[in-house]
Symmetry: C2
Subunit: 390 residues, 2 copies
């Protein structure tokens, strides 16, 4: 596996249990399926899309994608609503380019995906943080924020939120869609974790409201097939899709990923994506259960968390006064890594929180990671807040 | 070939000779080579890069790319200077995001690539047009433009310019690099046509000066292998590469094209890219010669053009008073398309110019296209300017 390691974005030192990394484990990457899909596409020269592609993305790929999404979203998806992207990050970057100007205000959740914050910063945007509770984003706070100057857009992660794993309730989704429609608020919904449901199906994606509201829903093959493909989609009303297909980047380069989408169309047609997604869910669910069980055993009862029903993450809330950033160096010394809360905060808050991912490591490592975390918070000075109180 | 046509960015009606289209002909797309490269990569699971890739792009791909570029550029290329991109358009878009703010002035050539203009417009940039002559961009005009407020960057196409096919002289390249260094001017050099040299090698690319000046050189596999791959590179001093690898898009998504670059690394290692490039040059050179010969025969002598030594395009200059936009509809009626000059102008000028491409069509069609153009300018009212003068 040395080649993969040397070319991967993050290299994990031997012995370290890195619960910060929000990626599938190498064992779960679909090498055989993609080789089969590539051979399938390669055997039929017409299916390797080598010329400049149509701006919206190959129509037959979008049809196959719509067939995949229908059952996942609990409603039929119209291929005319889909734009092929290079993944959710690229789509978000393009949304910033086309729908904001340097200095604009945008609305985001507190906490939010830390690298979305970085993309917004690259575009010179000013995030305004809105609160979340156990039902997800507080939609009343969106309504209040709209009393001032209109923001360029709202960025939200409605389902299996990163980092909190919370799900926006069905009722709030409806109210958010109404608000979007009535106030002309552009809502950018990052729905990449939606297909990773381990218990009951989640509420309908915000994508379902895209015909009646100003919604741009971002999806990706990174979480359900392979991140290295840089292949995703944006779902929106076809009238809004046209702003994308008319932009300079797409006019100049053609479709964003014709070649890879041609190969992944092969994987979709062969049923390999559904099979892989089923494998992922069958793998992640027991990992999630094992991690939560081990955390309950290892951590003091003051550490609170909701057991997620999907996605990649467990969000821990320690008592006030615990500083998870101060815990990181001692954790690394003990062969444990996690993502401290402030990285997800828009105001350098959430110091008492941390994000753990159960996607990358197997169950024994997750259990050992939870045990290391338990020892860490009981034994290091930054964890003393517990000792004092118990 | 119906599938390719249905998924291609531009569909050419039967019978039309579309000399506007700046793309390789379907016959020149390397289906067999890419199938071979995909099988080569697919046979070795470790070579399919499916995880999040390293931000700069896979190191072994960059090494293989550097080996390709060395002979083309006439000097060794350091892989540390290369950043993998989704093609020159995406790289240009990212440069705009990272190095400009809405409302900034930028310097561009008059004429310039029409879709770069669209990308700049999407970023809210204000282009300032600088003159070109037969040696390319007038570098003195750059120096003059720097007397005002500093622009965000200069965008230039130094080699086989789009649309004029002109080459910036060696001496002017040196002066431009000095100006960049001395005045801190960021120069974005679009060098995608550089490898397509049909006669003597062109002057050294601006990429050669990237260690000593503020130069970002854009390259692409679109012109030398296949546009559908959306695979290119940016060459710059490693210190400047770091601004890219640290940006939100790359931090979030990982390398921009790990999977495709893994397959193209196979093509590079198998020598398929050099072979394909040799085929392209051996095909384009006689097409270029045939088109120029046919144009000289078909057009009135007042129509001026330089016979290009590389690239994709012939730039025709008609006498003042000829309106190439007015000629377009009658041309389409006669089964001929071309790109009118104003599309490349920053001030809706160059009405007497047009761009023809010799890349897409085969020689008999190019000759017939030239004949149709000749009849058009002699027979339509918009071409009357000739008739009057001859």
């Amino acid at each position: 596996m040395s080649l993969i390691a040397s070319s991967a974005q993050k290299v994990i030192p031997p012995g370290r249990i890195d619960l910060a990394i929000g990626q599938p484990s190498p064992r779960l990457l679909p090498f055989a399926a993609m080789a089969q899909a590539a051979a399938h596409a390669g055997a039929d020269p017409e299916r390797l899309l080598l010329s400049y592609g149509t701006e919206q993305g190959d129509g037959r790929f979008r049809e196959a994608l719509a067939h995949l999404l229908g059952p996942l979203y609990g409603r039929a998806v119209d291929p005319a609503e889909l734009l092929v992207t290079n993944g959710a990050s690229q789509a978000l970057d393009l949304v910033c380019t086309l729908f904001s100007r340097t200095g604009d205000r945008i609305l985001v959740e507190e906490p939010t995906y830390f690298l979305a914050r970085k993309i917004f910063a690259d575009h010179g945007l000013t995030p305004v943080a809105l609160p979340m509770d156990e039902e997800g984003l507080v939609v009343e706070a969106v309504a209040e924020a709209l009393r001032g100057a209109k923001p360029a857009f709202l960025y939200t992660i409605p389902t299996y939120h990163n980092p909190t794993s919370r799900c926006l309730s069905t009722e709030r989704r409806r109210r958010l869609a109404e608000l979007s429609r009535d106030r002309g608020l552009l809502v950018v919904a990052d729905e990449v974790y939606h297909p990773l449901a381990y218990e009951t199906p989640p509420p309908p994606p915000l994508a379902s409201f895209c015909r009646e509201a100003e919604i741009l829903s971002l999806g990706s093959f990174s979480k359900i097939l392979a991140p290295g493909l840089r292949l995703g989609w944006l779902q929106a009303d076809p009238r809004r899709i046209r702003r994308f297909t008319a932009c300079g980047l797409l006019d100049s380069g053609g479709g964003l990923n014709p070649y890879t989408s041609g190969i992944v169309r092969g994987a979709l047609e062969l049923g390999l994506v559904e099979t892989h997604l089923a494998l992922l869910k069958a793998t992640y669910r027991p990992r999630l259960l094992a991690l939560c069980t081990a955390l309950r055993k290892a951590l003091p009862p003051e550490v609170r968390f909701l057991q997620p029903e999907g996605g990649f993450f467990v969000w821990l809330e320690f008592p006030d006064g615990v500083d998870t950033e101060a815990l990181l160096d001692p954790a690394l010394e003990r062969g444990l890594e996690f993502m401290p809360g402030p990285r997800f905060s828009n105001r350098n808050a959430l110091r008492n929180c941390m994000r753990l991912s159960f996607a990358y490591f197997e169950i024994p490592d997750l259990e050992e990671g939870a045990a290391r975390l338990g020892r860490l918070v009981r034994e290091t000075p930054a964890g003393v807040a517990f000792g004092d109180r118990r």
